[in-house]
């Protein structure tokens, strides 16, 4: 009896310590919901909304220069929630694309719904797991592989509102965001042949999985039907070095966004592909809390954002100094810089099959290898929120 007393407690102690370590590690992995439960407002049925008689377009329309859905200013009217609700929303980075959501907070439209929104800056791929675990309510960013993979691994995330498209997308007489190339990389610099873009070196921070590369290829395919994306040489360059790489000849083409492309709107460079006409390639995503737990709150959020677009961000809002000032403050950019680009077309609608087309292209390019067929739209998109807000389902 006494001989084992000395050795037994020691091995027991080891076991105890090991269990404690395991328990700590374990609790770190499992997270509970962060927000206290909210008293749920019930979600109403879709009813017509005054002011939004033209608040819907044909979701399959992708023509150049098409007009977005719009309601009158101030519509849809607020329907404040019975109790104040605080939301946590991420944006991928501070840019004009996020103006509808940012201004909804700073100009008081969320407040009218009894909502208040706290913003964080987070890449979409980090936002999605947080949304699925309830630590984040919504995210604003581009469509990318993280969204498609999210549904595949069973996370509850949906795109519920579109963000924007450039009004002149598809119109090559207008300088804008898109694929910019060095003229002297072409055999005939005065009139560059789009077919040759296949042989040039494109720069990308994330290989062929960037949405910029996606739309550039999709646009070029309209003029070069047998565009071979597989053979395309994409050079890995960190985003911070992209413009340097383009200037130094390390790469021949790069996707340049507002306002970066402005420095390249010179005779040495040429715009070879714009964004896709009439098709937002980004969205507001909702997580589990707004999709399943409290959809009425989601509806309030959608109403506020849509109302902001209709009231402040409709038409050529760059001509409105107070709106420009509000945007400049929200995204921390000087008004002068903002004024060098043209107004974006904010669009809360989601085009039919945007996600399907994007996945198919990625599958064809071998960017997506984990599955062969695109995840269907109903698993990625939920139009009910803007349908409730505008009172239009078709």
């Amino acid at each position: 009896m006494s001989r084992s007393v000395a050795s037994r407690p020691r091995s027991r102690r080891f076991l105890f310590i090991a269990l404690c370590v395991v328990a700590v590690v374990f609790t770190g992995c499992v997270r509970g919901p962060s927000s206290a439960s909210r008293a749920p407002d019930l979600r109403s049925d879709v009813v017509p909304v005054s002011g939004c008689e033209n608040g819907r377009t044909d979701q399959t329309d992708l023509s150049v220069g098409r007009l977005p859905a719009r309601c009158t200013a101030g519509a849809p009217a607020p329907q404040p929630l019975s109790q104040p609700v605080k939301l946590r929303v991420s944006i991928a980075f501070r840019g004009e694309y996020a103006a509808p959501v940012l201004l909804a907070q700073s100009l008081g439209e969320f407040e009218k719904e009894n909502l208040s929104v706290e913003f964080v800056t987070l890449p979409t791929s980090d936002a999605i797991p947080q949304m699925s675990q309830g630590q984040l309510d919504a995210a604003v960013g581009g469509y990318d592989l993280s969204l498609f993979n999210a549904s595949r691994i069973g996370l509850t995330v949906r795109a519920v509102l579109g963000n924007y498209y450039p009004p002149s997308a598809g119109d090559y007489s207008v300088q804008q965001t898109g694929l910019w190339c060095r003229r002297d990389a072409f055999t005939t610099p005065e009139s560059p042949d789009p077919t040759e873009t296949q042989k040039l070196r494109w720069g990308s921070a994330v290989g062929k999985s960037s949405s910029g590369i996606y739309y550039a290829i999709a646009e070029l395919k309209k003029r070069v039907p047998d565009f071979n994306g597989d053979a395309l040489a994409v050079v890995n360059i960190p985003s911070s070095e992209m413009t340097t790489g383009l200037k130094n000849g390390v790469i021949d083409c790069a996707v340049l966004i507002d306002p970066v492309w402005i420095d390249f709107a010179t005779p040495e460079y040429v715009l070879m592909a714009t964004q896709l006409p009439g098709e937002p390639l980004g969205a507001v995503l909702f997580g589990k809390s707004l999709l399943r737990d409290t959809p009425a709150v989601g509806d309030a959020f959608a109403r506020a954002v849509i109302r902001t677009i209709n009231t402040y961000l409709s038409g050529d809002y760059h001509q409105d100094p107070s709106v420009m000032a509000a945007i400049a403050t929200a995204i921390n950019q000087p008004v002068a810089l903002l004024a060098r680009t043209s107004s974006l077309t904010m669009d809360w609608e989601i085009r039919q099959d945007t996600t399907t087309r994007m996945q198919q292209e990625f599958i064809d390019l071998d960017v997506i290898t984990a599955y062969e067929n695109p995840v269907p739209e109903e698993k990625l998109v939920d139009r009910s929120f803007y349908e409730h807000a505008t009172g239009r389902t078709n």
Binding site: S125, S132, L145, S146, N149, I153, P238, V250
Partner: protein, 290 residues
């Protein structure tokens, strides 16, 4: 002898030193202790893996975000046979290439400069303050500078890795050469050794065990650094670090964990290799050296 017992004061206590369980049954006790230690070394990692497996399959944690070990095993052959971007083989190959070349150049310069500065007071005085200051600069932060100077191919990657390895190897080598006991030098000089003979016959073998410690530490650091650099910049879009980072960005945790495990294995393998070479070249070194 008188019958009377010698009285001791009742305040005294007798302190006994007796054999304990280890002493009474030394053989079985030591066998038992070895068994416990062995079972813990194997048992704890196995238990953690089992816990992970169970938590994932039973969905105590989200299996989409935290795939179980069996999920990872199942995913591995598919990742390796994939052709897209060279698949996992391409990533492993590229990372190994960077590890090998970065280590080679860094170790080469580290050894040369370490030996030279260890032997020459003048060189030490000239270069040590400079090198000591540069030692603490995080080399990863210099990747941007190197990209500009050397271009957007493998060269800046090899340079950053080589630089990191260089500093580890240089400082260990220099100290090793300087710490060769003066008695060894005296003996050689007293027998008429030339400078070259002193170096080859005494300083080099004398410093070898500690030099290998430096080489071994540098080996582990190399793999870490390669992964880190590939997070920022991976020429050809290949590399384990690139794979880990990309998999995280597109929300493919399965791919990410597989790449992490392979990177860890690469590190272990490489360090083990350097250690083996060290034992071969310096067999006289004590167990925890070289």
């Amino acid at each position: 002898m008188s019958e009377q017992t010698i009285a001791t004061t009742t305040n005294d206590v007798v302190l006994k030193r007796l054999p304990g369980p280890a002493e009474l049954k030394p053989k079985s006790h030591s066998r038992r202790r070895r068994t416990i230690e062995l079972s813990l070394s194997i048992g704890v990692p196995v238990a953690l893996i089992l816990l992970w497996q169970v938590s994932s399959t039973r969905e105590w944690i989200n299996p989409g975000l935290y795939p179980s070990p069996t999920d990872l095993l199942r995913r591995t052959p598919e990742l390796f046979s994939s052709n897209a971007g060279g698949g996992m083989w391409g990533d492993v190959g590229k990372s190994m290439y960077r590890v090998a070349w970065g280590y080679f150049w860094g170790a080469l310069f580290g050894l040369v400069l370490g030996i030279w500065m260890g032997m020459s007071r003048l060189t030490r005085a000239a270069l040590e303050p400079l090198l000591a200051a540069m030692y603490t600069v995080p080399k990863l932060a210099l990747i941007g500078v190197f990209l500009l100077i050397l271009g957007f191919d493998e060269k800046p990657v090899i340079a950053v890795i080589g630089l990191t390895v260089f500093f580890f190897v240089w400082i260990q080598t220099m100290t090793a050469v300087m710490s060769v006991p003066s008695g060894y030098r005296d003996a050689a000089i007293s027998f008429g050794a030339t400078k070259w003979q002193l170096f080859r016959q005494v300083l080099l073998p004398g410093a070898l065990p500690q030099i290998f410690i430096g080489l071994r530490v540098a080996a582990g650091v190399t793999v870490l650094t390669v992964i880190g650099v590939e997070f920022v910049f991976a020429p050809g879009n290949q590399g384990l670090g690139y794979r880990i980072n990309t998999a995280r960005q597109i929300l493919d945790p399965g791919q990410m964990y597989v790449a992490i495990v392979i990177a860890a294995l690469l590190g272990v393998l490489f360090t083990w290799l350097v250690r083996r070479v060290g034992r071969m070249l310096a067999p006289w070194a004590k167990e925890d050296e070289g």
